[in-house]
């Protein structure tokens, strides 16, 4: 019988504001909680994965946590890293390289920003390929605004439609006691919020938070003795279109999800119509809209109409980001781990916005400047 990897433990750390935490403490708190959720402890872990912004980052977190694993992975795919790390963890487990992989994420981006404010020193001038996009005063929001503007031009997408996405996430955040913002908002509230980079308003943008999460991947056989029902990894894939230079993105309205989504669905033997709930990267409202089209939930150009009438809310056709998402609940920089945690909670019936009878959930991360995409298709059973 072939080995099959399953997810047996998930947790978030405390969030969204952790002024008394170091980044390592966020990893540790999330790790401890995810292992406890699984009914395992650090001694059971023989594989470890995380993503951060320094070389040998995973080795540093292993040292901090006192782990000596024989599978270590720190593939950095930006916000989509954790979907890739879980895909790799499953491959390693199924190949017999290791038994139990702990995947963690930790960030104190919000608190660190406060400490650094006004003290930013000179940075080296951008050189090489990076210089070509870096000299024009563009911002992170501006890159996504370029995609939004192009989508509006090609398909007639309206700001009101993008706003529907932010409204849906906020409606979900209202039921999440940990969420950074919980007061309901309307389409008008989004349109009247300050313009940051046309056509994206402040409420089209994710929040900036501290926080982290962790998940535990092991074998189906091992999971039989554990307390939680195993969540199956039915299909996974990742892809990229470019790095940080959005000028190199072949088509500003087509993301890496157009490659990773269909591949992951094919590997799972499922299609978008089989999906009960979607946890998708929502750095900006446009990120969600492009991902919906590219993953195949609607045709290219029809995302605007698709998200209308509360389709993304619980009770709508495709309940999305049921924890409140990065737009309202928590966005510490690389949110991909939170997507996995919420997808697993939905499949266990533990979400604060539970979708009745959810059996198939998708977690799709986007990283960089719309650069990378990674899709996980999770289920309560093997179809």
């Amino acid at each position: 019988m072939s080995r099959r990897a399953v997810i047996v433990g998930v947790a978030t750390s405390d969030y969204p504001n952790l002024p008394d935490f170091s980044e390592h403490q966020v990893h540790a708190q999330a790790a401890e909680r995810a292992l406890a959720d699984a009914g395992l402890d650090f001694g059971d872990v023989d594989g470890f994965a995380t993503a951060g912004f320094f070389p040998m980052y995973a080795v540093g977190v292993c040292e901090y946590l006192g782990l000596r694993p024989h599978h270590v992975d720190e593939t950095n795919f930006g916000g989509a890293s954790f979907e890739v790390l879980v895909e790799h963890a499953a491959s390693a487990i199924e190949a017999g390289v290791c038994e139990t992989v702990l995947v963690t994420y930790g960030s104190v981006q919000l608190s660190a920003m406060g400490r650094r404010l006004g003290t930013g020193g000179p940075s080296a001038p951008p050189s090489g390929p990076a210089a070509f996009d870096a000299l024009w005063g563009n911002t992170l929001v501006g890159n996504y605004a370029l995609a939004a503007r192009r989508h509006m031009h090609e398909f007639g997408t309206a700001s009101e439609q993008l706003a529907e996405i932010a409204v849906a996430m906020r409606a979900h955040a209202a039921n999440n006691p940990m969420a950074q913002y919980r007061d309901p908002i309307s389409v008008e509230d989004v349109l009247e919020s300050r313009m940051i980079a046309d056509p994206l308003h402040m409420l089209d943008c994710c929040v900036i938070s501290d926080g982290g999460g962790a998940c535990v991947v092991t074998t189906e056989e091992r999971a039989r003795d554990l307390q939680r029902p195993a969540v199956y990894l039915l299909g996974a894939a990742h892809a990229l279109t470019h790095h940080m230079n959005v000028s190199q993105m072949p088509d500003l309205t087509v993301t890496a999800a157009a490659q990773s989504g269909p591949l992951a669905f094919r590997r799972a033997g499922l299609s978008p119509s089989d999906v009960d709930t979607l946890q998708v990267y929502d750095s900006f409202t446009i990120t969600v809209l492009l991902s919906l089209e590219d993953l195949g939930f609607c045709a290219k150009g029809e995302g605007g109409a698709f998200v209308e009438a509360g389709r993304l809310q619980v009770g709508g056709g495709l309940p999305t980001n049921t924890d409140g998402g990065g737009l309202s609940a928590c966005h510490p920089g690389m949110r991909g781990m939170f997507l996995i945690v919420e997808a697993v909670r939905q499949l266990r019936g533990q979400s604060v916005n539970q979708v009745d009878g959810a059996r198939v959930a998708v977690a799709h991360g986007t990283g960089g400047m719309l650069s990378t995409g990674a899709t996980l298709i999770l289920g309560t059973e093997v179809p």
Partner: protein, 139 residues
Amino acid sequence: MSEQRPPKPRPAPGMDPETEPYWKATHDGRLLVQRCLPNGHHQLYPRWRCLRCRGEVGWVEASGRGTVYSFTIIRQNFSRSFKHLIPYVVALVELEEGPRLMTNIVGCPPEDVIVGMPVQVTFEPVSDEVSLALFQPAQ
């Protein structure tokens, strides 16, 4: 606090052997693109070989004409090099030769910029050694 600090000059590119010819040319008021020898494909930024046919490449001067592929009006940027320029237009311009270039659109109110608008290159010095290729509405 940071509100009162004076603006800084626009950032200039760091040079390396591969990109230096491009930046030296923009300083001399010429916009270069790479062109492959076998098939005449154009590309930017510069690479070792043509990404379409893997052929050898060399530099040629571009016409400087293009259209706005997409744009945004930046209304928030805390960088001291740009804060005083707000609101300003960041755009991707598709050159006549094909490659897309990140740039600023100048010479018209930000609100007048539209996708598909014809534009032409203009050069703005940012230091004694470097001028950058910006674009303005075509005459």
